[in-house]
Symmetry: D2
Subunit: 384 residues, 4 copies
Amino acid sequence: MRILTAGESHGEYIISVLEGFPKGVKIEQKVINEELARRASGVGRGKRMSSIEKDKVVIISGLRNKVTLGSPIAMLVKNKDTKIFSQSQDELPVISVPRPAHADLAGLLKYHDTDIRNILERASARETVARVCAGSACKQFLHNFGMKIASFTVSVAAVASLKNPRNISEIIKRAKKSKLNCLDAAKEMVMIQEIRKAQKKGDSLGGIIEVWIDGAPPGLGSFMHFDRRLDAKFASYLMSIPAIKGVEVGLGFAYAKKRGSVSHDAIYCSTTHKANKAFIRKTNNSGGIEGGISTGETIVLRLAMKPIATLSKPLDSVNVTTKKKEKAPTVRSDTCAIVACGIIAESMSAIAITECFLDKFGCDTLDEIKLNYKNYFKLLEKKF
Amino acid sequence: MRILTAGESHGEYIISVLEGFPKGVKIEQKVINEELARRASGVGRGKRMSSIEKDKVVIISGLRNKVTLGSPIAMLVKNKDTKIFSQSQDELPVISVPRPAHADLAGLLKYHDTDIRNILERASARETVARVCAGSACKQFLHNFGMKIASFTVSVAAVASLKNPRNISEIIKRAKKSKLNCLDAAKEMVMIQEIRKAQKKGDSLGGIIEVWIDGAPPGLGSFMHFDRRLDAKFASYLMSIPAIKGVEVGLGFAYAKKRGSVSHDAIYCSTTHKANKAFIRKTNNSGGIEGGISTGETIVLRLAMKPIATLSKPLDSVNVTTKKKEKAPTVRSDTCAIVACGIIAESMSAIAITECFLDKFGCDTLDEIKLNYKNYFKLLEKKF
Amino acid sequence: MRILTAGESHGEYIISVLEGFPKGVKIEQKVINEELARRASGVGRGKRMSSIEKDKVVIISGLRNKVTLGSPIAMLVKNKDTKIFSQSQDELPVISVPRPAHADLAGLLKYHDTDIRNILERASARETVARVCAGSACKQFLHNFGMKIASFTVSVAAVASLKNPRNISEIIKRAKKSKLNCLDAAKEMVMIQEIRKAQKKGDSLGGIIEVWIDGAPPGLGSFMHFDRRLDAKFASYLMSIPAIKGVEVGLGFAYAKKRGSVSHDAIYCSTTHKANKAFIRKTNNSGGIEGGISTGETIVLRLAMKPIATLSKPLDSVNVTTKKKEKAPTVRSDTCAIVACGIIAESMSAIAITECFLDKFGCDTLDEIKLNYKNYFKLLEKKF
Amino acid sequence: MRILTAGESHGEYIISVLEGFPKGVKIEQKVINEELARRASGVGRGKRMSSIEKDKVVIISGLRNKVTLGSPIAMLVKNKDTKIFSQSQDELPVISVPRPAHADLAGLLKYHDTDIRNILERASARETVARVCAGSACKQFLHNFGMKIASFTVSVAAVASLKNPRNISEIIKRAKKSKLNCLDAAKEMVMIQEIRKAQKKGDSLGGIIEVWIDGAPPGLGSFMHFDRRLDAKFASYLMSIPAIKGVEVGLGFAYAKKRGSVSHDAIYCSTTHKANKAFIRKTNNSGGIEGGISTGETIVLRLAMKPIATLSKPLDSVNVTTKKKEKAPTVRSDTCAIVACGIIAESMSAIAITECFLDKFGCDTLDEIKLNYKNYFKLLEKKF
C-alpha cells in the first residue's frame, strides 16, 4: 500500500491517494467525516477550527456502491477558507518573520527563499486532514478482522491523568463524552483550566497521547531486516506528525530504568485456549511488540507533542529580509491541539498496521485476505 | 542509498551491502574495525563478547585503493564461533522455551514454528555488526563535510548522569577513557556497581543513550511529505535497534510538559555571520530539527534501551512443545550492552543522515557532491 | 519523485499526484491542456473521444503563481461523461462477456469477480490522462535544461513510414500538421485509408511509435545496480502503457541481427568541442544509452502497440456467468489510437528521465539544480 | 522481496543478497551451481569463460539444513582470476580507450573519471552471476507451485531458428543437448558456423532469445497502477541485462502489424474444467499477459541481445587522455554469449514473477503461501 497526500493550507483542497488498498472493503464516507470532525474538536482550538474546519470528504475514485474496487482511492477535502490560495495568490502578502519551533526558518534555508508563505502552506497541520482520511479507510478495513484503534490524552502540559484504561472499550466509550479525550475526569478539569489560562496569556501547550491497537494478530512486522520491524514503522509514522518529539512503545523510557527480572513479560500457558491464545502474558510492558513483531497483546504506543509553534503572544524572532529583530507573527490561534493529535496518531497507526497486515496476508481482495487470515490461525492451531 | 544486511548469529558471516554510495570516498577498513571494537566493549558484556567478538571487517567489493568506486560496497565479518551454524546444523539442538522480551515467541507464532533456533539466529544482536559496518562507511563519508556523530550514556537503570556535554568534542574525548561512555565519572562508578550487582544476581539492565550529530547543514529532510521528514527517519532507524523502546528528538517527552513561550527556540540575528549562520538560537530544545528539517543546530536524539532479554537467572516461561512451565534458557550472558547500543545508534543515525544528505546534494561522486554542497551555501549567502 | 494516479473511466475525475517535484519550476496549465488535446486527437478515434474528451486539467495543489512550491502537485481532470460512475452506479449494468486482449478476463480471475464493470473502469485508457498531466509537468521542467521530447508514428498496421527524421525539430514541426503524427506524408495517406477501411469493417489497428529525447546530458542512469539502468526504466515505463507489447532502444531487435564490427557506434574526437562534446559518434545505433547510462546522444525509443481490444465487430468470447458462447461487447469505438499512444509514450519517457535527472542533480529547487548541472559540466570540462 | 548484488569483475567475490524470501523453501546449492555452469557454457565463449568461470556458489546465510529461514540469503561466488582486484589494484594499469557499445565512455562521463578500469569492473557481465544465483533460488521456490521457466535461442545474428516449441518440456529437453540452446538442430549448425566465422574475424554476434514461463496462475501483476503491471516489470528486468536492446511480450512488434480481428486471443469455454481452467484460448498472441496481469496461459517473453562490445579486431575509438585516435582494447574475448544471456533472462524472469507471486499470496512461509494459493483457486472455483 502506498499513500500520497497533497494540498496547501490555503489551497482549494487537501488530497489523499491510497494505492494498493484491497478490493471488496466497505468504506463509509460518513465514518471518515466523523473522524474529521473529531480532528477539529477539543478544548483549546482556535476560531478557524470551530468555524471553518467543518471538513467533509468526497471520495472521487476507488469505490463503487461504497465498496472498494482495488483501484487507488482518491479523497478530496475542500478547504473552507474564503480566500483561495491557488487562485488569488497575489492577495497573500509576503511573510518574513519565522516562528520559532515551526518549519518556517528551516524551510526558508532549505529552499533559500525569503517568503515564509511558500513554506507554511504545506508545513501546516491542515495536511493531516489527508492522513485522517487515509487512516479512517484503513480502520474500516481493520474492523473486518476485529481490530480497533483508540487513543487518549495522558497529559496536557504538566497535568497528568491518573487513570489507566483496562481495555479499549473503556477508551472508546470515554472519548465520546470527554472534551480532551482524557480518561480521568477530574484531571481533565485541571487540564481545561490550564488551557484556558494559556489561552488568556497567549501561550500554547502540548501533551502526551497514548494509542492502543486491540485485536492485532501476532506475527505482523519482522526482525528479518531492520526496516521491516513493526515498532520502527510505528516510530516513523508517529514521529512524522507535526509537533511530535518523542515516541514510545510499551513502557518506553521507563523500561530503561528497570531490571530485566522485574520488567519482562513472563510467558504462561493457557489451560483453555489454543493457537495464538495458547500463551498468556500477565503484563504488557513490551507494548505488544517483541523483536519487531506483534505478540498478539494490545499494542501500546505513546507520543509527546510539543506546544504549538504559533503563539498569540509571540516569541522573539527576526525579519529574514531586514535582519531586524521582530516578534513572530500569529497565523493561527489554537492553544492546544492534543485531541486532534490523538486522532491523527490513531490514523497513522492504522495506516502502519494495515501495511504490515497486507504484507502478511496478501492484498488483492477482502475475501482472499479473510481466508488467508483464517489459514494462518489454522496453522497456529496445528502447532500450539 | 540502499542497505541490505544478512547473516545469522552462528552462521559463518555477517554481511552488509551498501548500494548507491558515492564514488571517490576514502573508506578505511581500520576505522570500521575500531567501531566494531567499540561495539564489543563496555562493562557488562559477557564472555562471548570479550573472547569471541573480535570482529574484523573484510570489504569485498566497492573499493579500489581504499576509495569507493560508486559500486555496491559489500562487507563481511566472520563469526568467530567455532561451531558454524550453516555447516553443522544438526549439532544444534532444538530450543523450545522462549525468553520473555525476546523475539522468540512472537517469531514462533509468525512462522508457526516450534524450534526457537530458527528465530533467534537472525533475531540476534549479532546482526547489528552489519549496521556498524555500514554506519562507519557513512561516517567516513560525512567527515568530508565536517559532520561528526557521537553518543553517550545518559543513564543505566535508575542511575542517571548529571553532566551534559557542551560540545561534541567533549563527548568524543570522554568516550575514549570511559568504560560506559558516560560523561559523569562519578555516576559512572555507580553505574558500574549497579551492573556488577545485576551480574551477580543474574539480572540484566538497560539505559538511556543520547546521540549528537554536529555539523549537519540546514535543509536535510522535508515536510513536503510525511515520510520524508528527518525526524521520522531517525525515529524509524533508532527504534529498529533491538531492545529500543523509545526515541526522542531534542527535549522529547519533556517538551510536552512545557509552555510554548518558555520552550521554543527563539530566533536571533548574527551580527557577524551570513548564510545559514545568519540566524542564531540560544537554546536547542528542538534538537536541531524543526518541521522535519535540520535547522543547522546540533541534532540531538535520545533512545531508551530495555534490559537485555536473556537473564542468567531466567524468567518464567513455557515449553512451547510440551506446554509445561519451564524457565527461559540462557543463551548469552551480557548484563548490560549500553555501550554497544550507543555505537549502533551512532551508526543508524549516520546512515539516516547520509541518505538525506545524498537526496539533497546528489549521489554520484564526492567531487560533485562537494561542489553542490558549496553551491547551496552560495545560494544561502545571496539570500541571507 | 513519486507519482500516484487515480480515477475510474466513468468516475468523476482522473487524478495525478506528483511528489518530490522541485520548487521554482514554472508550470503552465495551458501547456498541459495542449498535451491533453493532442492525446485526444488523431485519425481513428471514436466519437467518445472527439465529443467528450475535451480534457482540461485543474491543478489543485503544488503551485503558487504558476510556479511549483516543492509540495506535491495534484492535478484533476473532470470526466465529461454525463453518467457519473461513483454517484449512479446502480444504473450501470453488469458486464459479463470479456473482450479478448483486454484486462477483462484476467482481471475477473485476479479478483474472482463476475462483473467486468469492476475491472474495466480502471483498466481503461482514460487512466493515461493522469500520466499525460504528470508527463507534461516533467517536460516543462526538462525544458529548463534544453531537453525536448517528441514522438512520431513509424507504422500503422502493415503500413510503414519511409522517412527518418534528421533532428527533433523536424519531428515537432511535422507533428503539428500531421493527422497521424507521421513524418512520411505519402505513407500517412495510406495509413489513414487503412484506418478508414478497418473502421468500416469494425476492426482495430495498432502500430509502432518512436520517441526521441534530445538534449539529455550524459551520465543519467547507472550500471552500478541493475534496477538503476536508464534503459530498464524506460522499458518499464513504456511497457506499462496499455496495449504496448514491445519496447526497443536504438536499433533494438535489428541490432541483434548485425555483427559488432558494423553496428557499434565508433568513438571519435571533436576538434572543436570540450567536456561531454569532446567525443563524437557518427552513428547512434545504441539509441543514446550504453551500459544503462545516457551517452549524451539523442535517446531513441521504439514501442509496439497492439490493435485496440474493443472491436465494433467483436470477437468470440464467453459469458462468464452463463458459460455460454457470446460475442464480446463494444464498449468504446476507437479504431486506432496511435497518436494518443505517442503522447503517452512521450509523457512516460519524460517522467522516467526526470527521475534520473533529479537523482543525479538533486531535487530541492530549480536554482540549485541548475547550479549543480553547471558544476557537472565544469567537472567534465576539467577532465576532457 | 528485495535484491542487492555486489562485486567487481576482478574483485574477490560476486555477492547476491535476497531479502524477503519466504521461510521453509528447500534451496539446493547444487542446482544453483548447475545454473552457473549453464551460464558459462555455449559455443562462442572465450577462454576466460571456459577455464576460469567454473563458478561455485557458497550460501553464507539464510539457510539451515538447506531450508530457508526467512532471513536474508547471502550468496558468494569466488572469482577464479588469479589477480585479485581489491588486493593488488596497483598492478592493474590505467585503461584510457573506451570500447564503443560498452559502458566505458558513458561511465567516464557520468563519473568525470579518466580510468576506464573504474567503470568496467562493475559494468561487466560478471555481475550477472549474482542474478543467476538469485534467480535460481526463485526458480526453486516456484517449483513448489508447478512453475517452470525455460529459454531458447531464436536467432544468432541473421540466422533464425525455424522451429517453435509446443510446450516447455520440449524446450527443457532440447536445451540439454544443444550447444546453443536452439530448438532447430539444422539452423543451430549454421549458427555455430556463423560464430566460428566471426571468431576468426575478431568480430562479435548477438541474437534473440525467448523465455517461457509455464504454470503461472492468473492474476499476477495489476493494472490498478502502472508500475504494478507484470509486463512492465518483465520489461524492466530483462532490459536491465547487459547488451539487451529490445523486449517483447507475446507477439511483440509483430502484433503491431496485425488487425485486432485476427490477432486477439478469442475466449472459449471449457466443457470439462472449472476455476481458472474454465476459459480457454486457442492462441496465445498476448504472451500470457493481458492488462498487465497474467492470464494463466504460458508467459512468452522475447529479448534482443546486441553483439558483444569487445571485439578482438577492435573498433575505432579515442584515448580519452591524449585525445588521439586509438583502437578500442580487447579485454575479453567472447564472440557470442547468447546461451549465457538465456540463463540470465530466465533468472531475471524468475525474480520478477516471484515478486508478483509473493505480493499476491503472502511472503512469510512456504506452508502459508501454499494454503493461500489453494484458497485462491477455491475462490475461483466458486465463481467459475
